[in-house]
Amino acid sequence: MSKTATANPPAKSAAPRNIFARSTNLYIFFVLIALIAFFSLISPNHAFFDRGNFVNIAWDTAEILLLAIGETFVIITAGIDLSVGTVLMLSGVVASWVIAQMGGPPALVASGHFPNAGTAIPLGIAVAIVIGGIAGLINGTLVTRLRMPAFIVTLGVFSIANGLGDLVSSSGAAGQSAIPPVPESFANTLGNGNLVFGLPTLVVIAAFIALVTHVVLTRTLFGRRTFAVGSNPEGSRLAGVPVTSHLIWVYTFAGFMAGLAGILDLARFHATDIQGHSLDNLDAIAAVVIGGTSLFGGTGSILGTVIGAFIPTVLRYGFTIQGISSFWQDVVVGAIIIVAVLFDQIRRRRVT
């Protein structure tokens, strides 16, 4: 009997921690590759298979990916965060308001000149991230300390952030009836700058954060606790895992990511679109679910989420090049989500 335990070769012990999460990744990765190959082959002159096209796809995916990374941690704990999209919007609006207020005299700011940009921009960034973090902290605290369902709490914060964002943006700034666009220097570096290999700054930042969070999730105590809490919260508590504070950290992190995404979105588009983010939460959740993270908690990966975030964008670009209505993208993505959840259910049956 003991032989089976010892005869186990070291190579085997380095095997993937969760075979099922891993195999889902692989499966969904092939779907992504197949889609890219398919669109590359059928597009006129293989227009899809083009560096510029791929860069644009990555650029469009990066922002949702930032939200989806925070959402991955939340969903692994068997929670949900519906507020990330409007928190992104609120963070962006408040940041642009702060930058306009602190940027210089109202007349100059209105004409696009920001003499104090050097202090206004970092302050705006800090405020956006703090707002995101506070929204997450509120979510986490209500979910844990008051034992409220995450679905309801984050729906409430979704609505509150939406309303506050509207209020701030319509109150205007720097003597204007609306908030003026952010300084060009900010937009050109963080928003539209090319950091390395001619890749947009936003893409590089998102890739870096994906890498770091992947390591955090798979190699650190924070990651292990995230899985444990999602897999068996009461068991984790009995085993000495600080479940409440861990969950609060996870929600705060998701809010922080929304704040960061708010800043990058602001830099890219010069102003925050008030209406344009109300469905971001669903896009983020879709990316996580397509990527094989279980809504039941306890399993999931950043790698899967990255792939899951790319699939809707690839479909949209592919359809656009083919001249197919982009509404079909919604239909196909919806079908993919349903299939992904179906797989989740089947796996779930094996777990219990």
Binding site: M1, T6, S13, N18, T220, L221, F227, S236, R237
Partner: protein
Amino acid sequence: MDVATPKAAILEARGISKTFGRVTALSDATFSAYAGEVSAIVGDNGAGKSTFIKILSGAIAPSGGDFLLDGKPVHLTSPQDARDHGIETVYQDLALAPSLDVASNLFLGREARLPGILGRLGFLDDRLMRARARQELEDLQVGLSSVSQPVFTLSGGQRQAIAVARATAWGKRIVIMDEPTAALGVRESAMVLKLIERIKQNGVAVIMISHSMPEVFEVADRITILRLGRTVRQMRRDETTMTDVVAFMTGASVEFVQEIER
């Protein structure tokens, strides 16, 4: 009925009570456990056994009563607190994280970190944890093909063995088990009972809840009987019989139980 013994109890609970709103789960539970002995707690469904050992293991706070460790009064405020006193528990529902692998479950709440700066940043030493987990399971003669497999891939008996192994790996003084064999087949039950014998021989005080009288009479040195949240008897195994124990458990007369058994 107190047992005259020269040996001092490692753990003593006196007059423990617990109410959940209007439900009285325990009213007057008294119990003692001794190093190197197996103390069984028996009682009917709802007698308060699980509640009692959750109190012993710090998972819930008692409404009243005294708790002594090595004769000194203690207040256990959390499972962590109990663990710091060398008390480990195998809960009835095992409290394992099914999607985590075996090694991670053995180290749940006590994860080993890498040495140096990486460890301080929170990086885990999975290699060390797997090696230790393999060693621990080997010592307990639990057969498993890999400590890297998720717990949900294991059989009920294997899961039980992991939960027991986790408790014995860390519980240096007192190991508490709530129905450790309830979900197991004959062979797997025998394995767990052997585990209990082995840790008892290491001088650990084992506290065990069981519904199976033959099992209790096989491994227990002492038997405490709970009925309706109250300790009705504490005895040595060799002073009593299964028929007596069942009679005390149910509140029926010995004659009635003998009648039923016939």
